[in-house]
Amino acid sequence: MIKQHYQSIVIQTVCSLLIPFIQLFALYVIIHGHYGPGGGFQGGVLLAVSIILQRLYLGSKISYRKFSPKMALAFGAIGMLIFGFAGVVPLAFGGAFLDYENLPIFWVHGAELRALGILIVEIGIGLAVFGTLVLIFDSLVGERW
């Protein structure tokens, strides 16, 4: 068994059981933004909370090996890129900026394509918020990485 930050079986068990469910709920919140309360911002915050909980109970050394702050930076940047490309790509296919109806997904049309574009943008927002919040937490904690 790996050495952990808190030598308490209760904290270890509860946190390791809770984290997958938090992540699952975060994905649900992002995907379900079309039909109910939720969306990229809220789901991204939930994803970040799951990683921060892992940081708290494992300690930074092991937690950085599982999910390094550089990876959080990469996730944030990838999220921003997804949003940016969802804006720029329609320009190349004869639409306006952020005009999802002209995304090059040719087997979906019209309003369906708009719904798909909203989903793509929400995933981008979720990744960007997730990476940013984990980064802010890591830079406040102040361990070397």
């Binding site: 921003m80 952020l98 943008v121 929400e122 919040l133 802010i136 406040l140």
Partner: protein, 105 residues
């Protein structure tokens, strides 16, 4: 000085209260905010975007440009956090090693 400040604040509160008289009533259907674009969103958003949640349709589609700006702001705030806090840490390390060096002298 304190009384002057209090007087200025009271004047400001009076100005704000006076300005609220000109606002439309709460939930007034004829208010300018409710007759311009809101009816279009409510009537057309499902047909336009196949998204039953009007909030999501407005946030990500009709006002997508605004949301792009918001996300850029959040990401930039994260980058600024790293830049400022990491620099402080490097400075701490530099002063620490300098102290250690002077101790050895």
């Amino acid at each position: 000085m304190r009384w002057v400040n209090a007087f200025i604040i009271l004047l400001f509160v009076a100005l704000m209260l006076y300005a609220t008289v000109g606002l439309p009533d709460h939930a007034d259907p004829q208010a300018p905010a409710n007759v311009h674009v809101s009816p279009t969103y409510i009537e057309d958003s499902v047909a336009d975007t196949h998204t039953p949640n009007i909030v999501t349709a407005v946030l990500a589609d009709y006002r997508g440009y605004d949301t792009l700006g918001e996300t850029v702001v959040i990401f930039t705030a994260g980058l600024a956090c790293i830049l400022i806090l990491m620099k402080r840490k490097a400075n701490d390390k530099a002063t620490l090693s300098k102290h250690r060096h002077s101790d050895r002298m």
